[in-house]
């Protein structure tokens, strides 16, 4: 379809719609994408590594050309856009011709068409009606439903049969599916986002951290009720899981135990198990508390923010936890996030008042406070675990999956379905004899189709013979003879 445009514009239209342009664009996208895999890419590689890999001058050039972030550069997007445009225009250009197969199936072959059709054959007949009947029967036997088209050149009927007309649309189905996939990709790159969320047991959060360091609020709150790892016998990890609860206005609305490969989906957001590890925080500290005034020692398990009441009414709370402490200027700092040298501060509330004390499990001699009514014997320490959640919002993904399914169907149509058409028509041949003209046209796979055509001709001849067993002469022109005409 070349609409009535200014000649200049028409030229642009036609060159964009040509397959040559499409292929050149395909090759360009391929080459640029290949370059993007060979050259180190910016967001994924850290700047120091880039500087080590390339000289400063080269790096400046690569950055200026956008080659260090090919897949997110504007010109790559432009290239993909041009490819889409070329697909759309090429499809538009060719669509009317294909649409004709649907709107106006070519049911009655005219002489000029009969002359140029490559697959054709002529069978001598006496009676046109009997010939058509034989052909009808043969076509039915091959699973076709022949139509009778009334009123030919000599006022006689002709036959038309076809199958898989929709296969003509295969290329459009594939192209539409490709556009659908790209559309999904565009929607996701514009409106979608990805972020991270780390939660420890019992913790809840209402916002996620995006890749660029900013945060983004979620329309609900997510709480983690537990995290864990399961191992194979040899110690390699087998499964990571976390129990997640979705809270809306404080009310629980959804709950799921997620694992790698099995995300939680809620409100357009998907939460993936991406990470698992130990936090710098403590999950539980175990003590044995012995009253200084004499009495029975009591075991005690303290978690963060959960005060425990001892038997005499003293409330013990975990005030502070420093995983790897050192002291400078009378202040406690931590060296690392590993619980190598912990310092634990407890606060006690009893009838006599409030007091605080530090306990250093590695230095028990410094640990006690004189005023505290109890001796705390450190037993064990359990560090907290966190779950690293990958959060993504991909509103376009359904277009992508729909596109994939459609493309699968389109490709099957394109490769494995052939639009076949058969015409049977009684005509007079060059010498004025009555013949049954049989013609056929496949949309592809000519060579395999020829077999089918030969089988059909053979079947018609057989039907005619059995019908005209009384001695009606049936003579067939050879294929070569017809072709040579």
């Amino acid at each position: 379809m070349a609409p009535n445009l200014h000649p200049e514009r028409q030229r642009v239209w036609q060159s964009l719609a040509s397959v040559r342009t499409g292929i050149i664009l395909l090759i360009l996208v391929g080459v640029v994408a290949a370059a993007g895999t060979v050259i180190l890419q910016r967001p994924a590689t850290d700047p120091e590594q880039m500087q080590r890999a390339y000289s400063p001058g080269l790096l400046r050039w690569l950055d200026a050309l956008g080659l260090t972030n090919v897949f997110h550069s504007w010109w790559f997007a432009v290239l993909l856009g041009l490819l889409c445009l070329s697909i759309v225009l090429a499809s538009l250009e060719r669509f009317p011709a294909v649409w004709r197969y649907f709107a106006r199936p070519y049911r009655r072959p005219e002489p000029h068409f009969r002359a140029v059709l490559p697959l054709k054959y002529e069978i001598r007949i006496r009676n046109p009606e009997r010939g058509l009947g034989a052909a009808e029967q043969a076509l039915r036997q091959m699973g076709f439903r022949p139509e009778r088209i009334a009123g030919g050149e000599d006022g006689e009927d002709s036959l038309y049969a076809e199958r898989n007309r929709f296969a003509r649309l295969a290329a459009y189905v594939v192209h539409v599916s490709l556009l659908l996939i790209l559309l999904g990709g565009i929607v996701d790159s514009v409106w979608g986002y990805r972020g991270f969320l780390n939660l420890t047991r019992g913790q809840q959060a209402g916002q996620i951290e995006l890749a660029d360091g900013s945060t983004r609020p979620m329309p609900f709150t997510l709480r983690c009720d537990g995290v864990g790892q399961e191992n194979y016998a040899d110690g390699t990890p087998k499964r990571w899981w976390s129990k997640l609860v979705v809270l809306q206005d404080g009310r629980e609305v959804a709950r799921k135990e997620i694992a790698v490969n099995d995300p939680l989906v809620y409100g357009g957001l998907r939460f993936f198990q991406a990470n698992y590890g130990r936090t710098a925080d403590v999950a539980a500290v175990k003590f044995v508390a012995t009253p200084k005034g004499g009495g029975k020692p009591e075991p005690l398990v303290l978690g963060p923010g959960e005060p425990v009441t001892l038997s005499d009414g003293t409330r013990v709370r975990l005030e502070r936890f420093v995983p790897d402490f050192y002291v400078r200027d009378n202040q406690i700092y931590t060296r690392s996030e590993e619980a190598n040298n912990p310092a634990i501060q407890l606060s006690l509330t009893s009838k006599s008042g409030e007091s605080k004390l530090w306990i250093f499990p590695n230095y028990p001699e410094y640990s006690q406070a004189a005023e505290a009514p109890y001796d705390f014997q450190f037993q064990d320490l359990e560090m907290g675990y966190f779950t690293g959640l990958q959060v993504s919002h991909e509103p376009g993904q359904w277009a992508v999956w729909a596109g994939c399914l459609l493309m699968g169907g389109g490709l099957i149509l394109a490769f494995y379905f052939v639009h076949m058409r058969f015409w049977v028509m009684p005509i007079s041949d060059g010498e004025g004899r009555r013949v049954l003209w049989v013609g056929a046209s496949p949309s592809k796979n000519r060579e395999d189709f020829e077999e089918r055509f030969r089988a059909l001709v053979h079947e018609i001849e057989k039907n005619l013979k059995t019908e005209a067993a009384a001695g009606a002469a049936v003579r067939a022109a050879s294929l070569a003879g017809v072709a040579g005409r």
């Binding site: 292929i23 290329a171 990890p237 995300p263 993936f272 490709l411 490769f415």
Partner: protein, 466 residues
């Protein structure tokens, strides 16, 4: 020519070679059997693979024997040997599946196993259904290279890491292997087409020479200043490359090999240079020299392979990047080894064409039929490629939360897809049959090979485990 020779020597049935080859096969099988009896483990995957290797190797040898003698019986026997190899391959595949408890698709070793199996299966299908009788000449050497590589890659059954525990993984990799094997077959068919399409033998000479030169130049990018060859350090016990830091490989220098490889590069490039000279100067004599130089090049390549295998086998060589000596072994960079073996196979295939062109042409279907077959094979490969990418994207979306992240392997899979899409458009819309379509099919397979091996060994990325 060949036909005349067969006609003048009607007694030449090639029995001696067949007997020798059968004896070799039987001996190898017996040695393998003895080894198994010793280890007390009669049916193991290693021995099944060994049997596979023997039969695929025998098939290759028989095809080559056909190349030398032009006797048709060799092709028949080669087909038989392929069948036996395929049987052993199937058993190895099943054994692996059974012991691992999951379909063998989770490491590059297991993927090679399924790739080789599909390749052999498709070759057999093509031979039976489409009467392309010498297809194995190209695909069997590929299968042999695959099985040899498998001997060098870590093969123990490892428990699946959490990201790989998904049905979609199996779907993804099944499609990948089927698609890649179909691509390999289409490549072989495109080569056969070029033979039937009366492409000049000299052109094949030039291309083969260019391929080998490319391989050796690629290796020489690791040329050390003192004339050694830098090879990726290989942890023999773990059958794994040695890394200094994530994505930073450790290289060791094998002294003196660099000069040898330089010499080999010159030797394999000589036919190409002579070919160019003869075209430029219209000098037919240079072509004869080119063919003589080709024998020399093949000899040098064999020398390079032998030297590499001998020197790299368990030697301790210094590394430039890190302190100390690192053991390297024959398996140091299977990529390098595959290149060396691939170059030799390509050269031998050229010689086969040079000697036996008429016999090859006699046994092959017409150029038109081969062109259609190439198209049909790509018609199988392309939807499979599409499904592979779609299944991979779906799986990635379930595991990493993104269906497309422009990871190297993903990108190269997309490039492969684009190349074949280009092929299909040229064939369907522009009606470009024959040569240009065949070149595209060959380019497509080159990209497939790069996606399969090259990306894993050269680029890395998220697909680190495959």
């Amino acid at each position: 020519m060949a036909r005349e020779r067969v006609a003048t020597h009607p007694g030449a049935r090639g029995n001696t070679l067949l007997v020798l080859l059968s004896l070799t096969v039987v001996t190898l099988l017996f040695v393998a059997f003895l080894g198994n009896v010793k280890s007390g483990n009669l049916v193991s995957e290693a021995s099944l693979l060994y049997v596979t290797l023997i039969f695929y190797g025998a098939a290759t040898a028989l095809y080559l024997a056909f190349g030398v003698t032009g006797l048709e019986r060799y092709v028949r026997f080669a087909l038989g040997s392929t069948w036996l190899g395929f049987l052993a391959n199937t058993l190895a595949f099943a054994h692996r599946w059974w012991t691992a408890g999951h379909p063998p698709f989770s490491s590059i070793y297991e993927m090679l196993l399924s790739f080789v199996w599909t390749l052999a299966a498709l070759t057999l299908v093509a031979e039976r259904r489409f009467a392309v009788r010498v297809l194995g000449t190209v695909t069997m050497p590929l299968a042999v290279v695959g099985v040899v590589l498998m001997q060098l890659l870590p093969s123990e059954v490892r428990p699946l890491v959490p990201a790989l525990q998904s049905t979609w993984l199996h779907v993804h990799v099944t499609f990948a292997m089927l698609a890649y094997a179909a691509c390999a077959v289409s490549f072989a068919l495109a080569l056969m087409f070029l033979i039937q399409d009366r492409m000049h033998t000299d052109t094949f000479l030039a291309v083969t020479s260019a391929l080998s030169t490319g391989i050796y130049l690629g290796m020489l990018t690791r040329f050390a200043p003192a004339g050694g060859l830098r090879v990726i350090a290989w942890d023999f016990a773990e059958r794994r490359e040695v890394f200094l830091a994530p994505q930073a490989r450790l290289f060791v220098v094998i002294p003196d090999l660099g000069w040898l490889f330089l010499a080999v590069t010159v030797a394999v490039a000589a036919p190409l240079a002579l070919y160019v000279w003869s075209r430029w100067r219209k000098d037919e004599r240079a072509l004869n020299w080119a063919n003589s130089a080709f024998y020399l090049g093949l000899l040098f390549q064999a020398l390079a392979l032998t030297a590499f295998v001998l020197r790299a086998r368990g030697g301790n060589y210094a590394s430039l990047e890190a302190e100390g000596l690192y053991p390297t072994s024959l398996s140091a960079s299977p990529f390098l080894l595959a290149g060396l073996v691939g170059g030799i196979f390509a050269s031998v295939l050229y010689l086969m064409l040079y000697w036996r062109r008429h016999d090859l042409e006699r046994l092959l279907p017409s150029a038109d039929a081969l062109d259609r077959l190439t198209y049909k094979t790509i018609g199988i490969a392309f939807p499979l490629l599409t499904l592979m990418i779609a299944a991979g994207a779906y799986w990635a979306n379930r595991t990493w939360g993104a269906y497309w992240s422009w990871d190297q392997k993903e990108t190269w899979a997309a490039i492969t897809w684009l190349v074949y899409a280009g092929y299909l458009h040229m064939r369907i819309t522009r009606g470009w049959r024959g040569r240009r379509a065949a070149y595209f099919a060959i380019l497509g397979f080159a990209v497939v090979i790069f996606t399969f091996f090259g990306v894993t060994y050269l680029l890395g990325g998220l697909h680190a485990y495959a």
